[in-house]
């Protein structure tokens, strides 16, 4: 009951004209930026963080959450119509959605994506509303041992669950940690890893790192490609939005995707991208129309899009209640909280309960706004796809430069931006995923502080990890979480091998 009262209070302030305006603006801005080819939610938030600098915390956070939702949906539009996913999560939409669009079913693809996102997103926020208080109560028994373990788990999961080489994902995490440790040590005030440069003693700003990694390599790559082959933009014709059959075929994938996405989203370190992949694989396996997959099966859009958005809501749970981000994007949001001097976790529900419930309430509103604004406006957004690349990407470079300037007000900050842009480009070229390092960078201080506290309390012994019941259960879950997927992959591969053999 308390939860409903809190939520009611949240709605009361989220429906104030100014809050409402920021929620709508965020969704709209997010969609616009998310539609731009090559710009996913992470880049969208990273580029737009400077916009929220001067705002009231509650408005800034409402705005950025709206941007997150909007950019996810914007990414689906791009994936469907020009097959350029802005991020991994919409990569599967780029397969089935694009095929649907090629067959003149683009409107149906966008509609099933939008409606599925809305339903799954709303369900996930309902889950967030009622699960967070429970988790907050649970978190009261957490000590530094548990926090350290959870963060280490988040990082480990982020490396095992990402697509691609596990070693490279780990490298990405350690690069993030390495960058995060530069600067004065929190406990002793001693300079670390500054290579004698006093300018580095303040550490490397998170936003600069995020903007450099997520905006610069993509922009430079596209600008350097020059006038290549133009993207073919599929029109979505004057076909019907969704037929009765489309509704019937989408309903179950939406439901399955929502549940799957939500559960995966809650896991620390596992973002929504895995959710959309898993959902796609699941739909393909369950479907009676397997042959349609790869040629525009609506289930292959409905499921993953729902899973993707449910994953966002799920990922907010560990962020809000424990202060542990589940993905690179939520890591950005965590940074925004700390930028305003707020520390998500059990305490925020006690000390800043008005603020946190307003943000949760605004998420419901954002989801509704998304579907009201976006389906009718899709024609306008599609025009953005026609924006010339050189204009788009050179503008992005200017925007990140402004962002870096607004943080440091110095040449040093600008140069850091450029240098990390080069590092990001090289990482990308070497096949090292960028997202895990963002997560690691955000977690460094918490990870190290809890590690130190744990060992100081125990006098240097690692035994508390095993003797504390809560921490032991986390370890058990962690082992299951890491061994489980490996067995799952092995099983999928085996099945595939068997299937290939039987076909041959």
């Amino acid at each position: 009951m308390d939860t409903l009262i809190d939520l009611g209070g949240g709605f009361a302030s989220a429906l104030e004209p100014l809050s409402l305006a920021f929620a709508l603006l965020g969704v709209l801005l997010g969609t616009v930026v998310g539609v731009l080819p090559g710009i996913g939610p992470i880049s969208a938030i990273a580029i737009l963080i400077p916009v929220s600098f001067g705002m009231e915390p509650v408005h800034g956070l409402i705005l950025l959450c709206g941007i997150y939702y909007g950019s996810m949906y914007g990414g689906s539009i791009t994936a469907t119509l020009i097959k350029t996913p802005g991020e991994v999560a919409s990569a599967v939409t780029a397969i089935e959605g694009y095929e649907m669009a090629r067959r003149g079913r683009g409107k149906a693809a966008l509609a099933t994506a939008a409606i599925g996102s809305f339903l799954a997103g709303t369900l996930a926020i309902i889950g967030l509303t009622f699960l967070s208080p429970v988790l907050v109560r649970l978190a009261n028994v957490f000590g530094s041992t548990e926090y350290f373990l959870l963060m280490a788990t988040a990082l480990l999961l982020a490396s095992t669950m990402s697509s691609g080489s596990r070693a490279k994902a780990l490298i990405s995490i350690f690069i993030g940690l390495a960058v995060g440790l530069v600067g004065l040590d929190f406990q002793t005030g001693l300079p670390r890893q500054t290579f004698g440069m006093s300018l580095l003693s303040d550490g490397i700003d998170f936003t600069i790192f995020a903007m450099a990694l997520f905006a610069i390599p993509e922009a430079i790559r596209n600008l350097a490609l020059g006038r290549g082959a133009k993207d073919v933009i599929q029109s979505f014709g004057d076909d019907k939005w969704m037929t009765k059959q489309d509704w019937q075929r989408s309903a179950m994938p939406w439901a399955r995707g929502s549940v799957l996405g939500f559960i995966i989203g809650i896991l620390p370190g596992v973002g929504p991208s895995l959710a959309s992949f898993m959902s796609y694989i699941m739909e393909k396996r369950i479907s009676k129309r397997k042959s349609e997959f790869g040629h525009g099966a609506i289930e292959g859009v409905a499921g993953p899009e729902a899973a993707n958005n449910a994953g966002v809501g799920g990922a907010m749970i560990p962020l809000f209640s424990l202060g542990i981000p589940g993905s690179a994007t939520t890591a950005l949001l965590l940074f925004v909280f700390t930028m305003y001097g707020l520390q998500p976790g059990p305490l925020i529900f006690r000390d800043e309960s008005g603020l946190i419930w307003t943000i949760i309430a605004s998420m419901y509103i954002g989801n509704v706004a998304l579907i009201i604004l976006n389906l009718p406006l899709v024609g306008v957004f599609v025009k953005l796809l026609k924006m010339p690349k050189e204009i788009l990407f050179s503008s992005i470079l200017v925007l990140v430069a402004i962002g870096a300037y607004a943080i440091e007000f110095s040449l040093f900050g600008l140069m850091l931006l450029g240098i990390f842009g080069v590092i990001g480009y090289l990482m990308d070229k070497g096949g090292i995923p960028l997202a895990p390092s963002i997560l690691a960078l955000v977690l460094v201080p918490l990870l190290e502080n809890n590690f130190r506290r744990m060992l100081q309390i125990s006098g240097g012994s690692f035994m508390p990890l095993l003797t504390r019941p809560v921490s032991l259960s986390i370890i058990v879950l962690m082992v299951l979480g890491i061994v489980g997927p490996i067995i799952f992959r092995w099983w999928v591969r085996r099945r595939q091998l068997l299937a290939d053999v039987s076909v041959a």
Partner: protein
């Protein structure tokens, strides 16, 4: 080394680079002042440096091991170098990229020429360098004009209008809308 495919050669280079970064990072921890705490300020950085070093070496080892496996699969001499690297490439990408289960295949993005990349980065660094002394309006308009003109020289009128307009609109939006004061430079 003859059978090292492009993907694996990339891994070797990446691995070596990561190893070097890890080594430098680890050595840099020697300069951190010692304290008497159980976990000293140097503990974490040292762990990170060593981890990077080990992971880099692992990547190199893995690539060399895989290339050896490919060499065993493709008997040397029976196929031309070209087809060997082609089949090796497919093999490697299956393991290295670790394509999603049930085969969700993503299109590999196009790779630009290195020379172009260096040029673009150089221009960006020049922009970052002049932003404060010259001021936001002038340097941004010049930067945008350069970037768009390299890409589409024949549309210089459009480029000029865009460059000036974008610089002015962003300046006004940030300075008057968001109270983020951008450098005025020589115009100030």
């Amino acid at each position: 080394m003859r059978t090292l495919t492009p993907a694996l050669r990339g891994d070797v280079i990446t691995g070596i680079a990561v190893t070097l970064v890890g080594a430098v990072y680890y050595v840099a921890t020697f300069w951190i002042q010692e304290t008497k705490n159980i976990v000293t300020p140097a503990t974490f950085p040292a762990i990170v440096g060593i981890a990077l070093l080990v992971l880099g070496l692992f990547l190199v080892g893995q690539a060399l091991y895989r290339s050896q496996k490919i060499a065993e699969v493709v008997p040397s001499g029976t196929t031309s170098a070209g087809s060997a690297s082609a089949s090796g490439g497919a093999d490697a990408s299956e393991d290295v990229v670790d394509v999603e289960p049930a085969g969700v295949v993503l299109d590999a993005p196009e790779e630009p020429k290195s020379k172009q990349v260096v040029l673009q980065f150089a221009l960006f660094f020049i922009y970052l360098g002049i932003l404060i002394p010259v001021g936001f309006l002038l340097s941004t308009a010049a930067f945008l004009m350069t970037m768009t003109s390299i890409y589409a020289p024949h549309r210089w009128v459009r480029n000029l209008i865009f460059s000036v307009l974008f610089a002015v609109v962003i300046y006004v939006a940030f300075v008057y809308g968001l109270a983020v004061y951008l450098p005025v430079g020589i115009l100030g």
